[in-house]
Symmetry: C2
Subunit: 333 residues, 2 copies
């Protein structure tokens, strides 16, 4: 099964390799019509397919970019990735998605693997655990865009959402509905967005002179969320509203709610920070804080593309606003 090369095509067509190369790169300017036709025929006859690996080696660009998501189980990661892919598609590029699984070691491994494969740039949902590596890429001027999390001390284009303001607004909404006992569950407060979401929650309570009670706040590993909720709902003054800090904690909460036969929204109003697919068709419908994932992905791709093509502006922070999608379940109390 011998591979057909450009040289074979050249021989078959009776021209030189460079002419064939011109042809492949659609630089027909200085090329006789009959030459063109001969080459076309030769390619067809031999079933030739160019080898992009060889081309990349020479050109020093692969037209591929890498996306490293912190955790692919978050819906927003896949939505952002999808937007980036669409952008790539329009710009004759391709995207490879890798899942760091919230593990800095895996993240490092993927960054290194993708760079070894010569991808032209990287969109990263940083775990935050590889500061030195991030800085190194910055020093080398390697094209990178961060999404979801700002990393202090690393000067890279970064796209985030207004976490704090969004939860603030959501909690205000609950308060307006008459709720005062509002719980919040999140994964561990190890990363900036989660902390900001909790801060927004606290701020909203404070601004309404509602006491912040630690019994109403549970931040722990996903598999321990349920037991915290158990405690929370065993309180004499159990919450009448619950804010889930992201989709994964939301699903845990819903499992608990179902198991305890708590009725939403009659017994408990629920709001979740994150895009929940089909939130609108589930019963009960769920109020969500939606991140503009598509726009974020598009912007990330665009920023990366500019860097790759040396049209880089100074690194900057882009903050996108979330949208509170109010559905009946939050009309509580």
């Amino acid at each position: 099964m011998k591979r057909v090369t450009l040289a074979d095509v050249a021989k078959e067509a009776g021209v030189s390799k460079s002419t064939v190369s011109q042809f492949l790169n659609k630089r027909y300017e200085h090329m006789g019509d009959e030459t063109r036709e001969k080459i076309r025929a030769a390619i067809e006859k031999l079933g030739y397919r160019p080898n992009y690996i060889a081309r990349s080696l020479k050109q020093k660009r692969t037209s591929m970019i890498g996306i490293i998501v912190a955790n692919i189980m978050h819906r927003v990661s896949t939505e952002v990735s999808r937007a980036i892919e669409d952008y790539c598609h329009e710009h004759d590029m391709h995207a490879i998605v890798c899942n760091a699984d919230d593990d800095p070691v895996k993240e490092r491994k993927y960054i290194e693997m993708l760079r070894a494969r010569q991808v032209d740039g990287l969109v990263i949902f940083p775990t935050g655990g590889n500061i030195e590596l991030y800085k190194q890429m910055e020093r080398e001027n390697y094209p990178v865009v961060f999404v979801d999390r700002k990393i202090d001390g690393v000067n890279v284009h970064t796209i985030v959402v207004n976490n704090r303001e969004a939860t603030y607004q959501a909690v205000c909404h609950l308060i307006e509905q008459g709720h005062t006992r509002i719980g919040m569950v999140t994964p561990p407060l190890t990363i900036y967005p989660r902390i900001e979401r909790v801060n927004g929650y606290k701020q909203a309570l404070m601004d309404h002179r509602i006491e912040i009670k630690s019994e109403y706040m549970a931040s722990d590993e996903i598999h321990r969320i349920a037991s915290w909720l158990e405690q929370m709902f065993a309180l004499p003054q159990k919450p009448t509203a619950l804010l889930a800090g992201n989709d994964l904690s939301f699903f845990e909460a819903m499992a608990f709610i179902k198991q305890q036969r708590i009725r939403v929204p009659q017994d408990l109003a629920v709001i979740v920070f994150d895009n929940i697919p089909f939130a609108s068709i589930s019963t009960p419908t769920i109020t969500t804080i939606a991140q503009p994932a598509y726009e974020m992905g598009k912007k990330a791709a665009e920023l990366l593309w500019k860097q790759i093509n040396n049209q880089c502006e100074k690194a900057q922070l882009y903050t996108f606003s979330c949208r509170l999608i109010i559905r009946e379940s939050s009309k509580g109390k």
Copy 2:
């Protein structure tokens, strides 16, 4: 920002390129300890990272495989992909996922793009629209595994599920629960698995001497599903149970059901063919026909790996069995 090459490392360490290459490939057998250390130090000092593109060009393998899913919106595609990625991970390979979007033109484009990028093999959820291309790969002995759909006339390792038997069993279950008016919705019957699912449905009815009524069967584009359901539920004898042929049609059906305030399972038992994430926590819980996606993906990866490493057996059809996961909603009537 000059790239550090293997040649630079060799010079720095005062050895030849081939020795460095040996080192990189962990062939330390015939290598002095001091040489090894010198090279290690040089690599560290220069911050050298090998160029996989160059290596691939020489070795004629990229250690990458491609996955082309027919439609990434199907949950089962992502689950299978995930399993394949895990397998790759264990075998020092990497997977690239592309979405054909049910479009044979896109499918062809991706197959060609991935092969131009020299991926070592392909897992394809075939659209069925590129028979000649499939056959060509078969002729060239290019490593390929099909998943989800058997393509007649193409002799390639193929992994499918027992569609017919699975729906048969599901419908029997409904009948045992006392249902006789059982509806079914699916996307258009253009591909084999969907046809088989409908066949299983019909067979079950026939075997129980229940008349097959066309009013109870709707197979059409997703966006037209709703209007078919409207007709179905306007019948004097409306169905008491509904089988959704896949996840996408299920979501359409659920939107309709919710809008019409039909209560599940009191008014209508629902079963869906496909893995629905969080089917267990939604209210009502939904009975599902679960495909063993992880096992399927693992098998696909294994079959591909064997082909890549020339341990190919004869192409064969592997049929996996689905599991009916009965939840309360199907206890109807």
